[in-house]
Amino acid sequence: MPAAESYPDGLKYHREHDWARIEGDEATLGITWFAVDALGELVHYEPPREGATIAKDSPYGEVESVKAVSDVVAPLSGEVVEVNATVVEAPETVNDDPYGEGWLIRIRLTEPTEVDDLLDVEAYRSFLGEQ
């Protein structure tokens, strides 16, 4: 079942509709309910390779529904430590649980100060209100 609309506290958000869960010098990244809802049921996830470097504000992968393709934009820079194989196998996991089981990658942060540029949940909600 697709998840109901939500934007959890405790996550940081990026204007390209990505979220980050900061865990020390690592972060888990994914896409928000808003992005998932716009795409519809995901049918494909094209992840980066483990060990690859990603740069803030640049695309690191792609998600696809039947009718649309979207770049997934990195909210933070880092080295890819793990790719969520569950989502590669079953992309609709992101629709069901975008912030939990539907995480996309985990990275080791290379520029931790970038976290300060991200939005907290109120700022993101208000950004969404302007869309």
Binding site: H44, E64, S65, V66, K67, A68, V69
Partner: protein, 440 residues
């Protein structure tokens, strides 16, 4: 004008509904400076009988295969197109439908393309193919683009024994694709796997035609292995009519199989329209250009067919699409499906064997030295005629026989070589006549 249903009364009612007095008012947004205020400088309209007469006059000045005994091949072949292909075209639905974006309106076309995809995969030993490419030359460019996207490499290798037009089209597309094209020369009418192996170092793909432009059978499994050794995708350019007797590229290590479909179900038609095919192993599915039809079910569980994996294509992925192709060659491909269904597996094997048997008979009867005597051939072979082949062709045509293609048009060192094609439409008597005309 017979295509327009508009009467004067219709016109006035419609203008009234729009709220204008004349059609001219509908063009007010076009600046006067851009209005063409004279009639188009075109010849006066022809009524239907006059039109037919004019086209008959033009057609009458073409020497077609009904007027001349022809052994011309070199990429396009006078194979028999069965009457049942006309049954496909007799109904206007296939002829006049467009791309099946609304699948509920187009289940017939969609299922037919799915069946076509199946037969192409069966012929080539591959897992996926598209709903057709433009022709046998552009699919080679498609294959190179796919290989570059997959491997990240920018060099492509093509054998010199591959059709000159295929090579020329690849070279035309290459600058825009950012590709470097390397050719591997033929050695006595075929390609040397060792030479290919060195050339393929760092290449995205290797394209080789088999049977090649000279009609010779290449050491295809070794060429594929040489490409694979170098990490380059082996791409075999194959003749569908040969695939009843020759091994499927998918069975000897090729990543892609491409080719020209004309011989399988389309008339010659002075070079087009025809259909090209590009088939691949399953791992290349997401990089395939062109439309792909997939099976699914509807809300009631009924089986049905839809365009699938559309996110590869231009209407969704736009500038990052696997290709810009939209309109393809569907109707010609469906003629191909009809033809291959008419043949069946035994018929396909038989047509290949018949061509080979007749070609062998021709080699004996012509009593001319073969240009590549060491090589096995399929339905075409090159003979050395002792003087520029162009002159031999001219002399033979004066006697009502077109003896074949002058290889000197594309290969300077083969100016005296004539490429003779023998299809199942030729008879031993036809070949005897050719021998007579080319004789001493």
């Amino acid at each position: 004008m017979s295509h327009l249903s508009l009467t004067e009364r219709d016109r006035s009612e419609m203008l009234a509904a729009i709220g204008v007095d004349s059609i001219e008012e509908l063009f007010v947004d076009i600046p006067e400076t851009l209005r063409l205020r004279r009639p188009l400088a075109l010849e006066p309209a022809l009524s239907e009988p006059e039109l037919v007469r004019h086209l008959e006059e033009l057609a009458g000045r073409n020497v077609h295969t009904g007027r001349e005994l022809s052994f011309l091949g070199a990429g396009m072949y006078d194979h028999y197109v069965p009457a049942v292909v006309d049954a496909l075209l007799a109904r206007g639905e296939f002829l006049t439908a467009y791309t099946p974006y609304q699948p509920e309106m187009s289940q017939g076309v969609l299922q037919a393309i799915f069946e076509y995809q199946t037969v192409i995969c069966e012929l080539t030993g591959m897992d996926v193919t598209n709903a057709s490419g433009y022709d046998g030359t552009t699919v080679a460019a498609d294959a190179c683009y796919l290989a570059k996207g997959t491997t990240g490499r920018s060099k492509v290798v093509v054998t010199e024994a591959t059709s000159p037009q295929v090579r020329q089209v690849v070279k035309t597309y290459a600058p825009g694709f950012g590709l470097e094209v390397i050719e591997v020369p033929h050695r006595d009418g075929v390609t040397d796997p060792e030479e290919l192996r060195s050339a393929a170092e760092g290449a995205a793909c290797v394209v080789f035609q088999h049977p090649n432009f000279f009609g010779c059978l290449e050491p295809a499994p070794e060429l594929a292995a040489a490409a694979n050794d170098a990490g380059a995708l082996p791409v075999a350019h194959v003749d569908p009519l040969s695939l009843g007797v020759l091994e499927a590229p998918g069975a000897y290590g090729c990543a892609l199989a491409i080719g020209e479909g004309q011989g399988a179900g389309n008339p010659l038609s002075y070079g087009g329209p025809h259909y090209g095919f590009l088939a691949a192993k399953t791992e290349y599915t997401r990089r395939m250009p062109g439309r792909i039809i997939g099976e699914t079910t509807d809300v009631d569980g009924r089986r049905g067919y839809v365009l699938t994996l559309q996110t590869r294509e231009q209407h969704i992925r736009r500038e990052k699409a696997t290709s810009n192709i939209t309109t393809n060659q569907t109707l010609l491909a469906l003629a191909g499906l009809t033809y291959l269904s008419w043949l069946g597996p035994d018929g396909l094997r038989e047509v290949g064997e018949t061509c080979m048997a007749l070609a062998e008979y021709a080699k004996e009867r012509l009593d001319l030295p073969l240009a590549f005597p060491q090589q096995a051939t399929f339905k075409e072979f090159a003979v050395a005629v002792g003087r520029p082949a162009r002159e031999v062709i001219r002399a033979a045509r004066a006697q009502g026989v077109h003896p074949g293609y002058a290889l000197g048009r594309d290969y300077a060192e083969l100016d005296d070589a004539l490429l003779v094609a023998v299809t199942e439409k030729r008879t031993p008597e036809d070949i005897d006549r050719l021998a007579e005309v080319l004789g001493p």
